[in-house]
């Protein structure tokens, strides 16, 4: 799976180099071995904010535990800044983790919690005092030194956990769904906070989440993880515009999947397809090379179309576009943005969602509406059953 990744933005001098990581759990006694990580390889650049996005069970937590040393892989190597840390104990790795449950020591004050990593290094007291002050300032919790974790709210504990994990200036910070327990507004604020902290310190962040919005919001690159491997590893923009397959398309943004028929390649980047009889140019996107080579004229393909690319129009087709008209099944209004769900004629099993800005209410379910889709807007997307 990883060999066919279109990884167009691989860093040249990576701080983390993971090679052929494999891990299985279970034995014959417990019902057979389960492969949690399958021959996973990837690199992370210095100062990069990489998010690993995946649903529960995809292996992301296992990957994180192997990287921080709490778990050992069955096969593969982990290189940190050129050095092999695969067999290194967790306390010896310059990698720190922010756990999902924060794991603050309940019997220590906020000050002692944050100072813990430095006390382990026998840092002089005056230096510890200064550093703890800096950390508290960074997470905007100055004055909380004497409190105990039990007296803090979720968001506050979060920030102390982050401060504690960063005080020893690790080479990589691992974050395991740190914002999961926070409410919506707090989560949004913390996303901005984390990004700000990361930029200010320049530390490489490896962020694990199942929340696509978080991933899109914060990351330099996103790795979509599924079944123990990465489906796609690229910048948010590329994944959004050119998802490698339908699973990736569903993971990021509203996924409009349009069935089409392959005609012929146009140039290195574009291909011609037929949608309900109309010819359209679409981008090749992140379509896997080996699958692309197998395409013949007449092969059925799937297109990924983003909602904003379906433009509401009158019945005349603009140049270099096709027209998709159909019966509107649903309209939802959400503060100035309308999501119009419709079924295009000739494709009764397909449901597409278009967006329109403004609150004009001249469309209703049952009415026919026409949308245009321009050349080069859609992208080829591999049809994969969501196993």
């Amino acid at each position: 799976m990883t060999e066919t990744l279109s990884d167009t933005h691989s860093p040249a001098d990576p701080i983390l180099d993971v090679r052929n990581l494999s891990k299985s759990f279970g034995t014959e006694k417990t019902g057979g071995a389960v492969e949690v990580l399958k021959n996973l390889s990837f690199t992370v650049g210095r100062g990069e904010f990489l998010t690993i996005l995946g649903a529960s069970g995809c292996g992301k937590t296992t990957l994180l535990r192997i990287l921080c040393g709490l778990e050992t892989a069955d096969e593969g190597t982990v290189l940190l800044d050129g050095g092999d840390i695969t067999a290194l104990a967790p306390e010896k790795r310059p990698v720190n983790t922010v756990f999902q449950s924060y794991a603050l020591f309940p019997h220590m004050t906020v000050y002692d919690n944050i100072a813990y990593p430095l006390k382990l290094k026998h840092t002089p007291k005056s230096a510890i005092r200064r550093r703890v002050g800096e950390m508290l300032d960074m997470v905007q919790m100055t004055g909380f030194e004497g409190r105990y974790p039990a007296a803090l709210s979720g968001g506050q504990r979060q920030r102390i956990a982050i401060a504690r994990a960063l005080i020893a200036s690790p080479q990589i910070l691992l974050l395991d769904e740190p914002l999961g327990a926070l409410d919506f507004h707090l989560r949004r604020r913390m996303q901005t906070e984390l990004k700000r902290i990361q930029r200010a310190l320049g530390i490489t962040f490896l962020y694990i989440t199942h929340d696509q919005e978080e991933a899109l919001n914060m990351s330099d690159r996103i790795a979509i993880m599924h079944g123990g491997g990465f489906l796609q590893l690229d910048t948010p923009a590329v994944i959004y515009d050119s998802p490698a397959d339908t699973r990736c398309a569903r993971f990021v943004g509203e996924s409009n999947l349009l069935p089409a028929v392959f005609s012929a390649p146009v140039d290195c980047d574009l291909v011609a397809v037929s949608v309900g009889g109309q010819t359209l140019c679409v981008r090749r996107g992140a379509y896997p090379p080996d699958a692309f080579a197998a395409l013949k004229p007449g092969s059925p393909v799937t297109l990924s179309v983003r909602s904003e690319q379906l433009q509401l129009c009158s019945s005349t087709v603009p140049a270099d576009s096709i027209l998709l008209s159909g019966s509107v099944s649903e309209i939802s209004f959400a503060g100035g943005v309308q999501h119009i769900t419709f079924t295009p004629q000739g494709l009764p099993d397909t449901s597409l969602v278009a967006v329109r800005y403004g609150m004009e209410q001249n469309l209703a379910p049952g009415m026919t509406a026409a949308f245009s889709l321009s050349d080069g807007a859609a992208a080829l997307c591999l049809e994969e059953s969501a196993t």
Partner: protein, 289 residues
């Protein structure tokens, strides 16, 4: 108001019970301790002689020996029970409850009988001697029965579960992620134990010490069975004075003294229990953002 009187009436039998069966005997004993011995009984002549006698070297030695035995037993129980409780808790899965059950099963047999089992092991040419001599470790019987060490073994044997269970229970509640976080932040296994595991299991340890030390002051039947007349504890002394020397006032005074001693030590041990830091709101408990 009717509810109040109803409640009081309902509790009345309980009050009477406590009065008759608990307070009554205590008051009787207290009064008796200030009376003078008269033949096989007691005369209503106020005296402090009984209390003074406690401090005679002959008798005070017994007090010291009881305290010493209690300390030794508690120390050994802690040394064995604390690691045992921790390890079985951290094994995970079904192991903790397995060990709990394993510990409990002997208790289905009366402790008196189990101690008799130790007699069989300890007596000259008993089980222990047979094994040691067969292995060539000793040539002559050890004669461990009716010695101080035998009593200590008996005490530890009977009291171990209290420490083990307290520690295991607290250890089971320990959040493992805390241990992982400690390792992740740079602490080795030893440091993690000292900084995280020990402080957080200390409440279990303290409870265990309380549940071991107090009984060990009073379980004189262990000393009787395994120590015979060679090891005399406060409890044995009281029994002797009451049943054989027929000195009721002195026995009463010894009992009151023992109760006071145990009470004071309990209070001291309880005082040293740490605050539940989770409810420490000294520095403000407002949870605003």
């Amino acid at each position: 108001m009717r509810h109040r009187t109803r409640a009081t009436l309902a509790a009345l039998p309980l009050y009477l019970f406590v009065l008759v069966f608990v307070l009554g005997p205590l008051v009787y004993m207290l009064v008796l301790s200030f009376m003078t011995r008269d033949g096989r009984g007691a005369a209503a002549v106020f005296t402090l002689e009984n209390y003074r006698r406690i401090f005679d070297p002959v008798y005070f030695d017994t007090v010291l020996q009881s305290l010493g035995l209690a300390c030794t037993s508690t120390a050994l129980v802690t040394l064995i029970g604390y690691p045992l409780g921790l390890c079985t808790a951290f094994l995970g899965g079904k192991w903790p409850s397995f060990f709990r059950t394993a510990q409990m099963i002997p208790y289905f047999v009366n402790s008196l009988l189990r101690l008799v089992g130790w007699i069989i092991i300890f007596r000259a040419n008993g089980l222990l001697d047979t094994v040691l001599m067969a292995l060539g470790v000793t040539e002559e019987p050890l004669r461990l029965l009716y010695t101080y060490p035998a009593v200590v073994v008996g005490m530890v044997y009977v009291l171990l579960p209290f420490m083990f269970l307290s520690v295991q229970q607290v250890a089971l509640q320990l959040d493992r992620t805390l241990i992982e976080a400690s390792r992740d932040l740079g602490a080795g296994r030893v440091r993690t134990f000292l900084s995280v595991i020990l402080p957080l299991t200390l409440p279990g340890l303290k409870t265990g010490i309380l549940l071991t030390f107090i009984p060990s002051m009073g379980l004189f039947f262990i000393a009787s069975i395994l120590g015979g007349s060679k090891v005399v504890l406060l409890g044995s002394l009281i029994e002797e004075q009451l049943m054989r020397a027929h000195n009721q006032p002195f026995a009463a005074a010894l009992s009151v003294f023992m109760m006071l001693l145990t009470g004071i030590i309990s209070l001291l041990l309880l005082e040293h229990k740490p605050h539940d830091k989770r409810t420490d709101r000294k520095n403000g408990g407002e949870k605003s953002e």
